[in-house]
Structures are given as C-alpha cells and as structure tokens.
C-alpha cells in the first residue's frame, strides 16, 4: 500500500469519527432531558466524549493531509477535492481554538455537521492526485491557500454559532410579522442545507448506479475580432438529463425510471463551460432536496426550526452572540493576510500584477468588504443579537460562493480549481 492509498483510509476514518462526534454532541445536548440522570453531569460527560471523538477525527484528518502530501510530493490543496477537504480540516482547527477559549462544547453540535457536510461535498470531486500545472508550482500555493482557508474556517464557525443563535432566540410560536419573517428565513436556511445534503446524496446514488448519458454539443463562439468558430464537443452526464445541453444531440443515454430522452434543453444564454451539466445538477439537487424536505416535514409535522429550537434550551444566547463575533474577529486578520495580501504577492509573481479584477479576486474582496461592514456595524453601530447573527450567516454564504459559486458560474484565471 502506498502513502496516497493509506491517506484515503485515514480520510474515511476521519469522516466517520466526525459523524460519531456529531452524534455524541446531539446526545450531549438532547439527552439532558432524558429521565434518571443529572442533566449537567450528562451534558458534561457526553460533550467530553464527543469532543474526544471529534479530536480523533481531526487527528485522522491531519494524518490524511500529511500522508497525501508526502505520498504525492505536493501539498494537497491544488484541486477542488483537496481544497474542500482542507477547508473541512481548517474548520475543525478553528472549532478547537474557539472551543479552547469559550469551553462551550455545544458549539460542536453545529460545527461538526458543517465539517461532515463539507468533507462529504469534497468527495463529489475527482479524488486522484493531479500533477501541478506550471501556474500552481510555487511556494505560495502552500502559503496562500492554507491561510485563506483558515480565515474562512473561522467564518464558518461564526456561521455555525450564528445559526445556533438564531435557532435559540427566534420565537417559533410567535405570530407577529417580525417573528414570522424570522421563522421563514431560518426555515429557508435549513431548507438550503437540506438541498445541499440532497445534492451530495444524489451524486453518490447515481454514481453508485453507474448512470451515464452523453451528448454532442455544437458550440458557436465569436471572438473579439468578430471571427465565428464552431466546435463540437462531447458532454457526459452522470445524472439523468432533465436539461440536456443547449444545441445538442443524444449519443447514448441510460434509461432511468422510464426517462429515456431528455426532458428540457438548457437555455442558450447559459453559455458557460459545461452550463448544461451544471444546470441539470442544480435541477436534480433542488428536486431531491425539496422531496427530502417535504418528507421531513410530513414525518415531523412541524417546521425544522421548531424541532431544533427546544434542543437549544439552556444555552446562553449571549455566549453564542459573543462566540459568533469573536470567531469573525479572529478570522478577519487571517483572511486578510491569506486571501488578499498573500494572494496579491503570489499574483504579482505569477501573473505580473498584484490585482487584476479577476472574478475570484473580486469575490475575495467582496467577502472582505462584507466582513469589514459587519465589524463596523458591530463595533461602532451596536449591531448585536439577531442582525449580527444574520450577517454571520450571509457572510458565510458569500464565502462559499467565492469558493465554489465563482468556479461554477464564472470562469476566470482560477479555473484550474474548477468543478467538474
């Protein structure tokens, strides 16, 4: 067995340890109400077990990272799979640091599932070690990517505690306009999380079934000189085509539940790289996510927020508010250093300019501007509690768009980190 194969085993171990860590955190928090036990003692005991298991998960994850690095001879942060796994690991590190300061293990109940989700999402991407293209062959790959991810990891922890805060304080029985609006948005946030879970599940289900469909697509491109070129490309789908690529013909297609020809065509104005496949994936995710959410609602007969809310009893909302803010305050300088300053230094060496308004650069700036607005509002305008928690949630959505969305919908110089 070589090092890279060993690292994959360590990765699977980390994944399961994280899952169990999450489970034990839920027991620690939810089990307080179980009969014949002292709630404080129960919480203390199970949070410790959960923390130890999660820390073991982090140790396995670190083992994965360094053995893969050693085995492949390059730092594993150079494609989407490697980056997302690293982000998951960084969130664990950020969680351990914040936990060391505040000793509020319940934070793990939200940080752990976030890590599980991100690690599972990483596994959607091709996992083989890809040799470095010349642009990435630099020491700054190690420095820039790791620091930027660590800064973002603190924002992720802020997202987890911000969402916890909202689930804790939003009045799920309230009938006022304000309460209803808060309920709706919390529920929408949870729905989006369900859609992401459904996306990952769908990918693995169709991958497990070995589903395949392929198309030939005729692409017309007009360059800046006005010269028109037509190319024919093969497009492979691994999910049944709800949307086939624009201007394409089926080459072969597995039948799925009687679906043996594409239902719809991707509109022509969606003309990015692999636009059809991406739209199809999004359509499947929303479809399956809505289905899953609907089933959950039918089974539980209550909004998801109202189910989670009672679990949060006894958690001090002010602590959560402070943790959210503190995580952002710790992450902000790291993010500035990693995602902007180190990025500028590398860009200046590799691309001859420190700033070129590449979409990825602009979105890193947007993230930075957003969190600076947050900090000004918090420190100088007294925005605390719910507004502050909402900003932490929105901020992390912007972070994820910068990391994934930009590659998904906007192509730029960072496209080698692309989604396939």
């Amino acid at each position: 067995m070589n090092w890279v194969e060993f690292s994959s085993d360590a990765f699977i171990a980390a994944f399961f340890l994280y899952c169990f860590g999450f489970l034990f955190y839920v027991i620690a928090v939810a089990g307080k109400k179980w009969s014949n036990r002292d709630p404080e003692l129960h919480a203390k005991r199970w949070s410790r077990i959960a923390f130890v298991v999660s820390a073991l998960g982090l140790a396995a994850h670190l083992t994965f990272f360094f053995t893969r690095w050693f085995g492949s001879g390059q730092i594993p942060t150079s494609n989407m799979y490697e980056f997302m796994t690293f982000l998951g690991m960084a969130i664990m590190i950020a969680f351990v640091i914040v936990n060391a300061i505040y000793r509020k293990p319940v934070l793990g109940m939200f940080a752990l599932p976030l890590v599980v989700l991100i690690v599972a999402y990483a596994s959607v991407f091709p996992q083989e070690v890809q040799p470095l293209v010349p642009a990435l062959n630099s020491i700054w790959l190690k420095i820039h990517v790791t620091t930027a991810a660590l800064g973002e990891a603190f924002f992720a922890v802020a997202f987890a505690s911000g969402l916890m805060y909202l689930l804790r304080v939003v009045d799920f029985k309230g009938k006022s306009k304000k309460a209803r609006r808060a309920q709706r948005w919390v529920e929408f946030t949870l729905y989006v999380i369900v859609v992401i879970i459904a996306f990952i599940a769908t990918v693995f289900i169709f991958r497990g079934m070995g589903y395949q469909a392929s198309f030939t697509q005729e692409l017309v491109n007009i360059d800046a000189r006005g010269v028109e070129t037509t190319t024919v490309e093969n497009v492979d789908y691994s999910m049944p085509p709800i949307f086939k690529p624009y201007n394409s013909e089926v080459v072969e297609m597995d039948s799925f539940l009687g679906l043996n020809k594409p239902l719809l065509e991707t509109p022509g104005w969606m003309d990015g790289v692999n636009a059809g496949r991406k739209l199809n994936t999004i359509a499947w995710s929303i479809l399956m996510g809505s289905l899953l959410y609907g089933l959950l609602r039918l089974a539980l007969r209550k909004p998801l927020g109202a189910i989670i809310h009672p679990l949060m009893d006894g958690i001090d909302p002010e602590d959560l508010d402070e943790i959210t803010y503190r995580a952002i305050a710790i992450g902000f300088p790291i993010f500035t250093l990693g995602a902007l300053i180190f990025a500028m230094i590398w860009a200046n060496i590799a691309w001859s300019r420190f700033w070129g308004w590449d979409p990825k650069e602009v979105w890193a700036l947007i993230t930075w501007l957003f969190y600076s607005a947050y900090l000004h509002l918090r420190l100088s305008r007294g925005w605390q509690g719910q507004p502050s928690a909402w900003l932490a949630v929105i901020g992390f959505v912007i972070v994820m768009f910068t990391l994934i969305g930009v590659n998904l919908v906007i192509a730029g110089l960072h496209s080698y980190a692309g989604v396939s």
Partner: protein, 550 residues
C-alpha cells in the same frame, strides 16, 4: 441651546462631551439614567459634533460618520459584483470589445457593454467610490483618534461613582477590610495579570494593552497608503504594461525602453502518462513553459533605422510562470506561448513564366527582412510587408496582427523588359493565401511574365515556438506592500489584543468596581473574577455583567 460644559469636578469640557474628561461623570441628557454608559471613544467630544457647522464642517461630518462609511462599503461591494458577471475588457489583449459582448451574450451583453459595466473597475463611479472610501478613512480616523488619544493620555484615577457603577462590568459589595488595604491587595493581583496599576489611596485604575486601541487607526493608515500607492501608478514613468512576442532565436526591442529581449529557446513540457493518475491518461497537461531569455541594454544606435543597435547583455534568466526575469525594476513574465508552426523564412525563386528560366533565389525572412534583393538581372525592392494580410474597411491592405499568419510582401521589381520605374508585385509565401487573395489577379500586369515561388519545402523554414512575455514596470509596488503590511499590523494589534481597564473605589467601606474593554467582554469578566478570587471574593464571571450592549 447653551450647554454648561463645566463639570462639578471643575473640569471645563468641550461641547459634545458625554462623559467628563476628568472624572467621568455623565453629562447632558444621559445624567440621570441608570443604564450602562456609552463608553465609545471614552465619551469625548469630536470635531464632527461642533454645534454650528459651516460647509467645511458639514463635509467633515458627512465623511466622519461610520454609518456613511458602511454605506460606502456596501455600495462598493454591490458595484464590484456587477463587474464579475461578464468578462471585463481588460481580459482581452486584442480585438474590439464591441464585437464581443453583443454577439456572444445577446441583448444582455449589449446592455452590459453600453452601460459601461465591461469596464466597471475603471469607471468614474467606481473610482469615485474608492476615493470616497479613502476620504472617509482619513476623516473618520482623525475625527476619533485625536480626542481619544487626549482622553487616554490623562486619565484620573478616582472616577465619579456613577461612572463606575454604570459600566458594563460592575461589582459592588460591603468590605470587611479597610479600603486602602483592599485596594493594595487588588493592585498586587492585577499587576500579576499584567495590568498597569495606578493607585490613589483606596481608589485604583488598572489598565492593559492600551496600544490595541490604535490598531484600527494603524490599519486605516495602511489602507490609505495602499490606495495612494495604487493612484501613484498614474505618475508618468511609474507604470508600464507591455506585451512582447518573441519567436525562438529572435531578439526584439522592448518599446519605450532601451532594452532588447532575446528568446534563446522556448520549451514546453507535458506530463507523461506515467506521471499522471490513470484517470487522466492521454490528457495533455503542461508541466513547464520556459523561455531562456537574455536581456540586453542598447548602448548605441538605439532606434536607428539603418544602423544595427549595439547591445550589451545585462541579465540572463530562465523565465517560467512563477519566476519572472527581473532587472532594475523591469520584470518580464511568462504570459503565453504559441507552438503552432509559423513561417520564419522562405527562399523564393524568380521564374520567367514564358521561358521557364530560373533567375535564382533569395532568402526572405518574415521578421526584419532585407529591403533590397538582386536576383539575376532583376532588382527587387521591398516596399511594405503585411504579417496577417487583409483588406481593411477603407479598401486598402492592412495587417491584422504582428504574427506571420498570412504574410504578404509588396515589391517593386526593376529589370529587363519592365517599366523604367519598376513594376509592382504582391507576394504571398503561403499557397493558401495566394489563392485566397488571388495573387495572380492582383499582379495581372506582370504575372504572365514573372513569378516568385517556392519550389519545394526545402525553401521554407519554420520558426520555433513563439513566447509571449509581459513586460512590467511598477514603481509603486514597494508602497503597496508597505501599506498592506501596516494595515495587517493594525489588524493584528486591534483584534488579537484588547484594551482593558478596571476602576475601583471604596466609599465608607463599600467597594464599587467597574470595568471596560473595547472588545471581548468574556475575557474582561474573567480578568475581574479571577483577581477578585485571589483576594478571597468568589464570583461567577457571568454575574458581573451589568447588561447593555457590548
């Protein structure tokens, strides 16, 4: 309205002061409330709170507002998003952007282009926003840092009782030891927690990490230097951004400089299948692009059309993507390459079409060709050359690029049987261009008598790969890095330390303790609780919280 700004302690405060600068007694409307105090900037008056603002004051007040600063940040944020929807014009190196947006993105692309979003980041409104943010940075900082510095410079130890009990962290109790003894004990404990303690009998002021208060302002200074450095690039000579195209083996001048650059050898390496995972076998994945480059400085005959320039080698470097050639502020970066075969030279023969006689051949280079050729009894004079021949909109010949994609040479031929002043001849070395542009028809007056043509492939030489290098001079860079560094220093000072102060006084055996920090109340309460514990008072840190906003 006339404010009486004199405090009961005798200190004369500026108009707009919230807390007496000396004893901390709340002034103004806030006087009778019991809510925790607004401690921001220690309650000092700022310039922006002048009572009768003139127009300069109004501008100052506008830019000194944090609310305005946040609005500016949010507008800039939203504005930046627009620029990421479609590629910006600066990503095209050649061609007319007008021909790109409409044809590729339909009506949306057209509107996007017409509204100027294709140049979002160079647009007047975006630059204005950045300048406004810069102004806000300067004015916000000045408006706050000077009074804050003054307030922190001279702090009184014994604060007004209502100042202490209206802090966000408060502890009061009856003491069973004399006040001074207690204060002395606390002094010792707080010193061990690295506070600087000033004691005045039974009153005490403990303070630590005051420097962290300057963090935000240092950060802002860094950002201002950064923004100014970016603006400084418009100083003539500070900024240059050129692209050079160098076929292998050639030396080309770098425009607007005295330098010449030679591409000695260009190499592209691809990963072999052995080096790649099985899933990627057969893919072309680049491993290395490298230009072996030599930089020359021209010492004589520079830009002389007739004489060869005298070149002196100054630097030699293998340019790869992450390793540019650097010489005295000039940088040459590997930008792109083209390894599709390109004509380097042809060796056409001049043939008499009527007799089939071959008068001989000559060497015609695509780059820097000679202007005169003698072939047998004929004399050829090169009048103009087109690298990528096309007929322009005005009906005259033009060249679409500087690469020999469709080269054409315009000769005047003189010799036996031809007109005295010579006859014109347009020559396309590539057979495909010759047919596309109907060479024989253009030259119809002469084409049935004389012809230039290349007999076989032996008469054709191809150039090695062409490298594209980006030449940059950016004198402002050191200032950009200094600005970024200062900004980073400020962020670290401001976020990883916090300014903590504890005041206490004992009045008739009753201890009143108040504490304030600019960030991290959790740590502040911990500090107070653990110092109290050491002097024998057990309190839950959380119980010290007096409510109010952080």
């Amino acid at each position: 309205m006339i404010h009486n700004t004199k405090c009961e302690c005798g200190h004369q405060n500026y108009v707009g002061t919230v807390l007496c600068e000396s004893c901390g007694k709340p002034l103004g409307e806030d006087m009778h409330s019991q809510e925790p105090l607004e401690m921001r900037y220690d309650g000092v008056a700022r310039r922006s709170q002048k009572s009768n603002p003139n127009w300069i004051d109004r501008i100052w007040n506008f830019f000194s507002s944090v609310k305005i600063a946040v609005y500016l940040i949010i507008i800039t944020l939203i504005g930046s998003i627009f620029g990421t929807i479609l590629p910006q014009e600066n990503t095209f190196i050649s061609g007319n952007p007008a021909d790109y947006y409409g044809p590729n993105h339909g009506w949306f692309g057209e509107v996007y282009y017409q509204l100027g979003f294709s140049r979002t980041y160079e647009s007047w409104w975006f630059i204005t926003l950045l300048v406004m943010i810069g102004t806000s940075l300067v004015i916000c900082s000045l408006d706050r840092v000077l009074p804050l510095y003054r307030a922190l410079k001279k702090q009184q130890i014994r604060k007004h009782l209502s100042f202490i009990t209206r802090q966000k962290v408060v502890y009061t109790r009856e003491l069973d030891v004399p006040g001074e003894t207690f204060a002395r004990e606390m002094e010792g404990q707080l010193k061990r927690r690295r506070f600087r303690v000033h004691r005045d009998g039974d009153a005490l002021l403990a303070e630590k990490n005051r420097f962290s208060r300057w963090g935000p302002y240092i950060n802002h200074i860094g950002l201002i230097i950064f923004l100014l450095a970016v603006l400084a690039r418009s100083i003539p000579g500070w900024y240059m951004d050129e692209y050079v195209t160098i076929p292998e083996g050639e030396t080309v001048p770098i425009e607007n400089t005295n330098y010449y650059l030679k591409n000695e050898q260009f190499t592209v390496e691809y990963y072999t299948d052995d080096e790649m995972p099985a899933e990627m076998a057969g893919q072309l994945r680049a491993k290395l692009y490298q230009t072996k480059a030599v930089l020359y400085e021209c010492t004589a005959n520079c830009h002389d059309l007739v004489e060869e320039p005298v070149l002196e080698e100054v630097k030699r470097h293998d340019i790869i993507v992450n390793s540019p050639l650097t010489y005295q502020g000039l940088h040459a970066y590997q930008f792109d390459f083209d390894d599709t075969p390109k004509l380097a030279a042809v060796e056409p023969s001049l043939i008499n079409k009527e007799t089939g006689e071959n008068y001989g051949s000559f060497d015609l280079r695509m780059i820097n060709p000679d202007l005169h050729y003698e072939v047998g009894p004929y004399e050829l004079e090169l009048r103009s050359q087109y690298m990528e021949f096309a007929i322009g909109e005005d009906g005259n010949p033009t060249s679409l690029s500087r690469d020999p994609n469709a080269p054409a040479f315009f000769f005047i031929i003189k010799g036996p049987g031809l007109a005295e002043e010579g006859e014109t001849y347009l020559y396309f070395p590539r057979q495909v261009d010759k047919q596309r542009f109907s060479q024989d028809q253009i030259n119809s007056h002469i084409s049935d008598r004389l012809e230039l043509s290349v007999g076989s492939m032996e008469g054709v030489t191809f150039a090695g790969a062409t490298t594209f290098l980006n030449i940059r001079v950016d004198t402002a860079m050191p200032y950009v890095w200094v600005g970024a560094g200062i900004s980073m220093l400020g962020l670290i000072m401001g976020f990883y330390w916090n300014h903590r102060r504890i005041w206490l006084r004992v009045d008739n055996g009753k201890l009143s303790l108040g504490a304030h920090t600019n960030k991290n109340w959790y740590g502040m309460r911990g500090d107070v609780a653990s110092a109290l514990k050491k002097v024998g008072i057990e309190v839950d840190p959380k119980s010290l919280d007096n409510g109010g906003k952080n």
